[in-house]
């Protein structure tokens, strides 16, 4: 392998669907890119936007948010709230000068191990294409960095 950029990706999963999709992928020995590290939440609705900011500020190059398919939420409708927060987060990131493509929301049911693996691979390639995350303006405006870190 040449000196290819290997992005670090933090993934947030729902305990009921996407975390189990990862289990399903494992049981079926589906291979996917090792760049992603998954963190289990009870629901994608638990995703506090600061988790994403924290991950990106702490060195992750991308953040994957995964939840149950619309209509399939274990808690009835909380994944819609994740969707709303995701859309807001993309705008916030764009405002901070970070490519919105560094965060991605996907739906994966517990049965969709293959799909999850496929989506992970695709996202890794997308973030790889974006290159390492360099927080803009960090060097000249330390106050702003601190503000971001504060939020995180």
């Amino acid at each position: 392998m040449s000196e290819q950029f290997e992005p670090v990706i933090v993934g947030f999963t729902c305990n009921w669907c996407s975390y189990r999709a990862a289990d399903t992928a494992g049981t079926a020995r589906v291979k996917y890119a090792p760049n992603v590290r998954l963190i289990r939440l009870m629901c994608s609705g638990r995703l506090d936007p600061t988790f994403v900011m924290k991950a990106l500020a702490g060195g992750a190059d991308g953040v994957l948010i995964t939840g149950c398919h619309p209509g399939d939420c274990h808690y009835i409708e909380q994944n819609y709230k994740a969707l709303r927060r995701f859309l807001l987060l993309r705008r916030t990131l764009a405002g901070l000068g970070v490519e919105p493509g560094r965060i991605k929301l996907i739906w994966a049911s517990a049965a969709e191990g293959l799909k999850l693996a496929h989506e992970i691979n695709q996202f890794v390639e997308e973030v790889r294409a974006l290159g390492p995350l360099n927080w803009p303006k960090w060097n000249d405006q330390p106050a702003e960095i601190d503000a971001v870190k504060e939020v995180a």
């Binding site: 933090v10 494992g26 090792p34 590290r37 988790f51 808690y75 709230k81 049911s109």
Partner: protein, 665 residues
């Protein structure tokens, strides 16, 4: 052993080899040494590896360290927490450590099984362990929530699986609501003539069970009824059941049958007779129906459609007909639910090359079942569509709609045996020549292959090949007026055209058309094929991800009768186990409001789908009812003041985990 770092709890890290499942892709010894060296500053005072951490010896290792080294936190890097979290938390508890201070890291499902480069996989395992070590330090001891179990049970679906489940629970002395949407219980089994491989009469073995279910004082039979809403959680579900208007007063009706005798309106019976026979507009599906009360089929009833007739009312000796009856809604409280909602049959018309619907003498398997049945439309005579002519040659096609990416990818499991049974019945009753067209012969259960041997011995002609088409276009004089089955006989590598009089399509099983909606109603999910998904496909095939909801029979996938009965009984046993425990332990993952921080902004108020959040106007703050909270954490994430915290998944825990994961980079 390294010294404890001040202000950090004492943590033990245990890495499992899982035989070679993990160690073949993750350098476990290296991980062990690294954890001790690099995470020592994070509180790790002991790091060990073991061949099988989940074995009793593995667990004892942890218990010993807790007792002897005074561990305050435990991290087990092994398989998915969905498999062994209970195991290791139990070990900690036995050693006197609060179980919620133990966490697992999935380095098998998420690392060794899905990656191919050992160096990279090992690095990922370390990063995940670091995350969990940081997280576990922030864990707080929790106490399990205990809620009482309502001893009543809801069984949805009155097929053989649901009947079995209801009887088992009822016979143990607990109350069951058995809900069935058709006018009678019995399900598909009531339609069959004979059952394989023993060939006992389906009705003869089923009706006693139906009668038992109908007369058991512990069973409330709700036929012609559907569940419309479900709220609550394990131990305390609140279920609303719609009792569709029968237009027959069950208190007065004796089931004498005069009404359907007198009813002038005949309707093609698409359900019970599979479209092959007729019933009246007021009817019970079949003679042995349980309950015995008929229903009036409103869209087909002359009185309801045209305003005159009322023949049934006129002749009813007990004045039981009630045209003014309305749908009723029944509220019941139950502690557990068993879903045995069964299956639909594949629509044979979709395989246009087999000509069903275009060529009259192509029949589906269910049509043939009804034809064979002595109480069916032909009185048990096997004839062509004209109702008279006996076939001299019959072709039976396997796998119609199954094992086919154009339709359903899965094997329906029963069709081979069903087809063999048909071959036997055709031979026995008509002496016709029978061809079986199969891809693979699957007779894998007790006494099944012996039945195949018997059918071979009876002279059935087997052709190995998936039938390409059934046509009436003759090419040769001897094909004229016949149905020609065109197939590659794959054992000789030649295409054959076999003229027959009758074709039987062994159609597969499909999930109920409304399975997805049913799943949503009860909060469970369907697999990509559409069947209800089990908690674990091998080790827990009758539970679901939702506590208190169990599944049985063909609702979970194609099954034969013994399989459906076993699952019904198994689900009942699980429910009885819960009932006898009198209360159920729930994961203590709940949200709560720090009243000092709450500003009363009410942003969280509308977020909870379980109505657990309410505003206290007199105090100007919001409170969360822990009995209703399900622990999703949406409100925690939404609170702008950070006043809501969620146990088990607190901000501190997640932040620490993110830090840990990203520590190495």
């Amino acid at each position: 052993m390294s010294e404890n770092t001040p202000n950090k709890p004492k943590i033990g890290v245990y890495t499992c080899h899982c035989g070679t499942n993990i160690s073949s892709m993750v350098d476990v010894e290296n991980v062990r040494d690294w954890a001790k060296e690099h995470l020592g500053s994070e509180g790790v005072i002991v790091s060990r590896d073991y061949k099988f951490m989940c074995s009793s010896l593995g667990q004892e290792l942890i218990e010993k360290d807790i007792k002897e080294l005074g561990l305050e936190r435990v991290v087990v890097a092994a398989c998915s927490p969905h498999l062994h979290e209970k195991t290791f938390r139990g070990a900690s508890e036995r050693a006197g450590l609060n179980p919620y201070l133990t966490e697992m890291v999935s380095i098998r499902e998420q690392v060794s099984w899905v990656h191919t480069d050992k160096v990279v996989a090992t690095a990922k395992a370390k990063s995940l362990i670091a995350g969990t070590v940081e997280r576990v330090a922030q864990n707080a001891p929790l106490e399990k929530l205990k809620v009482p179990i309502n001893a009543n049970t809801l069984v949805v679906g009155g097929g053989i699986s649901g009947i079995q489940a209801a009887l088992e629970v009822a016979n143990a002395g607990f109350h069951v609501y058995l809900v069935e949407r058709e006018p009678s219980i019995g399900g598909h089994m009531a339609q069959f003539d004979k059952t394989f491989p023993t060939l006992d009469c389906s009705a003869c073995i089923l009706t006693p069970r139906m009668v038992e279910a109908g007369s058991n004082p512990n069973i409330t039979l709700l036929t012609w009824s559907e569940v419309v809403s479900v709220t609550g959680f394990v131990g305390a579900f609140n279920v609303t059941i719609k009792k569709k208007a029968r237009f027959v007063n069950e208190e007065l009706c004796t089931g004498c049958g005069i009404c359907w005798e007198k009813c002038p309106k005949s309707v093609i019976d698409d359900v019970y007779e599979a479209g092959l026979g007729y019933r009246k507009a007021v009817y019970t599906p079949f003679a042995q129906a349980v309950p015995k009360y008929p229903v009036i089929d409103k869209p087909n009833c002359t009185f309801f459609q045209k305003g005159t007739c009322k023949a049934c009312e006129k002749f009813c000796p007990t004045n039981a007909i009630d045209f003014n009856q309305k749908d009723e809604y029944l509220n019941v409280e139950v502690g557990n639910v068993i879903l045995a909602t069964g299956y639909d049959l594949f629509d044979a018309g979709r395989v246009t090359n087999y000509g069903y619907g275009r060529l009259p003498n192509v029949f589906t398997s269910m049509e043939f079942e009804r034809m064979c049945n002595a109480s069916g439309p032909t009185g048990g005579e096997i004839t062509l569509r004209d109702g008279i002519t006996k076939p001299q040659t019959v072709g039976i096609i396997h796998c119609v709609g199954s094992r086919d990416k154009n339709y359903n990818n899965y094997c329906s499991t029963i069709c081979c045996m069903q087809s063999l049974k048909f071959a036997h019945l055709v031979k026995e009753r008509t002496g016709a020549d029978v061809y079986e067209f199969y891809i693979d012969m699957r007779t894998a259960a007790k006494s099944y292959d012996e039945f195949y041997q018997r059918v071979l011995d009876e002279g059935t002609l087997f052709v190995r090949g998936k039938v390409a088409e059934v046509t009436d276009a003759a090419r040769q004089p001897h094909e004229k007026g016949k149905l020609i089955v065109q197939v590659e006989d794959t054992l000789i590598g030649k295409q054959r055209r076999i003229p027959v009089d009758m074709v039987l399509l062994s159609i597969g099983m499909e999930p109920r058309a409304d399975a997805k909606e049913t799943g949503k109603l009860f909060g469970i999910s369907c697999s990509s094929d559409g069947w209800f998904m089990e908690r674990h496909p091998k080790l827990d095939p009758i539970s679901t991800m939702t506590e208190g909801i169990y599944i049985a029979g063909c609702a979970t996938g194609p099954k034969d009768i013994p399989g459906s009965v076993s699952q019904g009984a198994a689900a009942a046993a699980r429910v009885l186990d819960k009932i006898l425990q009198k209360e159920v332990e729930l994961e203590p993952i709940r949200a709560s409001v720090n009243e000092n921080k709450c500003s009363g902004c009410r942003i969280c108020n509308n977020l909870c789908p379980f109505s657990a959040i309410s505003f206290m106007p007199e105090l100007g703050i919001t409170r969360i009812n822990p009995a209703l909270c399900q622990g999703c954490g949406t409100c925690v994430a939404a609170c702008p003041a950070g006043a809501i915290s969620g146990t088990g998944f607190s901000n501190e825990q997640i932040f620490a985990q993110i830090d840990g994961i990203l520590m190495g980079i």
